[in-house]
């Protein structure tokens, strides 16, 4: 406790506070720009923070991480262009809200949900990190596979139209994810003589194409994104938080924290699981995908819940929960801070200072989001004749910036035009994205588990955690199938 107080006091100096504010603001901007991820920004900051006081350097990186995770929601809600893959689930209800002239409300919900998600996970990190880390170590390949399956079950609840087309869309995503070196034999599947494909189809260009480009092609036939703008334009500035969202937010924060701790899982899968759960247990599931505030709250609380979650195994065991946590670990090690028990004893002031800086980063983006929501929302009233070329330019830069390759720009365009026509044929682009993102985890978990069990699939049904995950999967699927049957 004494160490926590010391750490808190060390933060209340101009340099750390400035680092938190600047890092969070920078993170929000980077997160909102398609193609730029928090991983990229934190990785770039490692050499910058090298000469800094460790508390200031880590606070800067923590601010970028928290801000970046929230920033992805802004473009996702306003332009259906997820700034980061983790914000893909946010677009499902956030963009329909913008179309109804409620972009300001959607951003406010995303801000508050992200704030509470971040606070819940940081509290978990602060209070029970060592216990949680031990639990996360019990997840092996079979459990990771079932976790990915749990994410894939979202397809059933995500699909609002033809369920068969939704499932086919998910398989299309999984097949696209299978392009490139397979994780077990390292055989370059379907890559032909294109070396850029040996590493597989990159998530970001595909995501930008499927969500952003296909959407902008749709917008060419309309004057403005907002479709149901009432005579009173001031409704756009409305950013009042709807009531009754706290249970969804709390649940999302917990899901994000738990899934975030599991190496390889990450914010995207947790956002979809949280969205799926919220839809499955809601009394009006048919309103999801059409601008239900709970959809935004569920997705955003979960992806920000991953921030603290991913740091639990990183700080305690040296196992990063995701790629940003891996970069942050780099930031720790260049300061000679080796993950493990010593971080919480010998270097407790720095470690707890870093954890407490995440609380402050959450407060910074809470203010930024709430006060700037009405201004951000005005983007949705800009004429489409201006937005369409502007989004296209950002999509091109965002795709190119991942690997500095024109190949990724062409990939993005192919996914955009292909996705547009798939959508017009009644297929679900959200399900394609889900398959694409979860494909790697699914295959690695599947292959790894069978390698452990010498090819016996019984491993998926005998381990206690696997059984618990099967129960959860069935519980998530049952209501969705019942409702689909009723509708039929």
């Amino acid at each position: 406790m004494e160490m926590i107080i010391k750490a808190a006091l060390s933060l209340f100096a101009p340099a750390p506070l400035l680092a938190i504010v600047a890092g969070t603001m920078g993170g929000v901007i980077i997160g909102a720009i398609p193609g730029l991820t928090a991983t990229m920004a934190v990785a770039l900051l490692i050499p910058v923070t090298f000469g800094m006081n460790p508390v200031v350097g880590l606070a800067l990186m923590g601010g970028v991480y928290s801000g970046g995770m929230f920033g992805g929601a802004i473009s996702s809600i306003l332009l259906s262009t997820p700034g980061t893959p983790a914000a893909a689930a946010t677009a499902l209800d956030g963009y329909p809200m913008t179309r109804k002239g409620k972009g300001g409300v959607a951003i406010t919900i995303a801000t508050v949900a992200s704030f509470w998600g971040g606070i819940i996970s940081t509290l978990a990190l602060l209070l029970v990190a060592p216990v949680l880390a031990k639990f996360s170590l019990r997840f092996g390949p079979p459990e990771n596979f079932l976790l990915a399956v749990m994410g894939l079950t979202s397809i059933v609840t995500l699909t609002s139209g033809n369920l068969l087309k939704g499932l086919i869309s998910g398989v299309i995503g999984l097949l696209i994810a299978s392009i490139g070196m397979d994780p077990m034999d390292a055989y370059p599947r379907f890559a032909g003589s294109v070396p850029e494909l040996f590493d597989g189809v990159k998530d970001i260009p595909a995501l930008i194409g499927l969500f952003s480009v296909s959407q902008l092609l749709d917008l060419t036939g309309e004057a403005s994104i907002v479709q149901e703008l009432t005579a009173d334009v001031s409704t756009l500035k409305d950013n009042k938080m709807p009531k009754g969202l706290m249970p969804t937010i709390a649940r999302g924060g917990l899901i994000g924290t738990i899934v975030g701790m599991l190496p390889g899982a990450g914010a995207t899968i947790s956002a979809f699981i949280s969205y799926n759960t919220a839809k499955s247990i809601d009394k009006e599931p048919e309103t999801f995908g059409r601008g239900n505030p709970k959809g935004v709250a569920a997705a955003e609380s979960a992806n920000n819940g991953c921030v603290g979650g991913s740091l639990v195994p990183m700080l305690t065991l040296g196992i990063p929960g995701n790629s940003v946590a891996a970069c942050l670990m780099g930031g720790l090690t260049i300061n000679n801070l080796i993950p493990g028990p010593e971080l919480f004893t010998k270097y407790g002031t720095i470690t707890y200072g870093f954890i407490l800086s995440l609380f402050l980063a959450n407060i910074v983006f809470l203010f930024l989001g709430i006060y700037l929501a009405p201004f951000f929302a005005r983007i949705s009233t800009a004429p489409n004749s201006l937005l369409v070329p502007a989004i296209a330019v950002l999509s091109v830069v965002g795709s190119f910036a991942m690997r500095n390759m024109m190949f990724d720009v062409w990939t993005m365009l192919a996914f955009g035009v292909g996705g547009y026509f798939l959508h017009r044929m009644g297929f679900d682009l959200g399900a394609v994205v889900l398959g694409l993102i979860l494909g790697h985890i699914t295959e690695e978990g599947f292959g790894g588990a069978l390698a452990i069990s010498n090819g016996s699939p019984a491993i998926f049904f005998t381990r206690p955690l696997c059984i618990a995950l099967w129960v959860l999967i069935i519980l998530l699927l049952l209501p969705a199938f019942r409702k689909k049957k009723k509708m039929a």
């Binding site: 720009i33 033809n162 068969l164 055989y187 092609l217 004749s385 502007a390 330019v393 035009v417 017009r424």
Partner: protein, 167 residues
Amino acid sequence: MNKKTVSVLSGAAGVLLAGAIYSKVLKFPAYAVHASQYVKFLLAVMAVLCLLLIVASLRSVDTNKPQWMKAPGAFTATVAMTLVYVLSLKYIGFYAASTVYMLVLAFLLGLRRPLLLLVSTAALLALVYGVFVRFLGVPLPLGIFEEFSFADVPGSLAKARAALALL
């Protein structure tokens, strides 16, 4: 073509695609057992789902026509301009190509507010330059302007003068 026919045809296309990919998988080398097993499983699921889609669609009575494009002219202009834009990046570079693309496409889509368009284009390109080029060091393609480095303004001006003198 109505929605029912589109669904039947897309199901049939899915089955054919699964078959075509399967024939490719059969040619995988013997050591790539895991690589082929996983894909074979996915292809089997895909084929079954597509067959079910065909059966379900044949039973359905949905004779509505799908709306492929809301405004065919604007759609075609956007796709064509975007293709030309991406192709031209290599030759005239990001900044010149993006400026022309923004101005021409916005005009084609009906924007008639030159000041708004010019300010927005400049602001967007400035944002891209600040965040992507200066902060992240992304080497955006410069095409024929490659020689005119922003880091060496006097040198670039001298080169520009020399180029103008040649004209």
